[in-house]
Symmetry: C2
Subunit: 205 residues, 2 copies
């Protein structure tokens, strides 16, 4: 059988280039989905951090001026930090994806696949935890928790609360995208441990 | 070559039995780790739900009796529900694991692997979100949030808060175990998509 154009050729950085496979179309789609998701995450994470980080509202209560800002709530500070991390991490990954697409290489390097998988997992869980904590604070701010006398504050700082709400919604999209991405990187990693060759030989025997 | 004892033989439920592979040792370890983790999750989720669900404390303030209970805080109700779900789901999975181990079968059924992977992912994210939301409420209850006049309540309900803290710690272990488990089920699923056979043929050509 002629295997011209079919083979694994070494490329710089210990990432072999993989040609002529049935998996090539799947690979291309996976890489494209990964790139789009990482771009979306970067943009939404920056948007969320800016929305929450720049949010403030001043109210005058009997000549006393009070200012609401995101640092008043620790959960919002955690969310802005998590968004900043997600944006930085995703931008770095976008660069890696673009370089890989230009070189036409597919990930067969286990240590790198493990690093990407671990990074994506950590980011997915960190962003989700940050969103859940911020959403919990937001729910208390919006509706209060009468049983423990935590009063609602959104009646007083409506504009501030709305902008925080938009930031949390944006962060929720970031964390959901990170969840999908971490499934993609799990796919890219664990298929390297596939044992189809053994099974197929066994089935033929 | 003699392939006696080496082959894929069909077993009930469309799960082929897999013998004589180098991967057998790895498979056994993965299955054992999975079983142990699922048992640990069931036990800790039940413990957490009981600790939080049965927690209450009565205080008399100027002849007025006030009772703190977990339903006073919506985040704790969410956590108890999430723990209940995690315990039920994990017990069902323990049964599946034990049946598979007794039959000596390995998961090669893609729809089942997808179902387990999806279930584990959802449970990992739900339990983590519930823990994050409850922890956020607990932090406010413990330290207060002076900027928005949410006062600390743990100075008044010390015993109640301690028991909730133990429940949240237990739930945190549940969610961390679910995170590890969802990585294991990702491994079990995505290695079915491995392309080693193609690569090895290509390398020989």
């Amino acid at each position: 059988m002629n295997y011209l154009n079919v083979g694994v050729s070494p490329s710089p950085g210990n990432v072999p280039v993989y040609h002529g496979s049935n998996l090539k179309v799947l690979d291309r789609r996976v890489r494209l989905a990964e790139l789009i998701l990482r771009c979306v995450i970067s943009a939404l994470a920056i948007l969320s951090a800016v929305l929450i980080g720049t949010d403030s509202q001043v109210k005058e209560i009997f000549t006393i001026e009070r200012k609401a800002k995101f640092t008043d709530m620790k959960a919002l500070v955690f969310l802005v930090v998590a968004d900043g991390l997600a944006a930085t991490y995703s931008l770095a990954q976008v660069v890696r994806c673009v370089v890989n697409m230009i070189r036409g290489s597919v990930l067969f390097n286990k240590p790198l696949a493990w690093a990407i998988f671990s990074g994506d997992q950590v980011m997915a869980y960190v962003t989700l935890a940050a969103v859940a904590a911020a959403a919990q604070s937001a729910v208390i701010a919006k509706f209060g928790q009468a049983e423990v006398q935590w009063m609602k504050i959104c009646t007083m700082y409506g504009k501030f609360c709305n902008q925080v709400g938009e930031g949390i919604a944006s962060s929720l999209l970031v964390s959901l995208s990170m969840v999908v991405l971490s499934a993609i990187s799990a796919f890219s990693l664990f298929r390297l441990y596939g044992n189809n060759n053994k099974r197929k030989r066994d089935e033929r025997s």
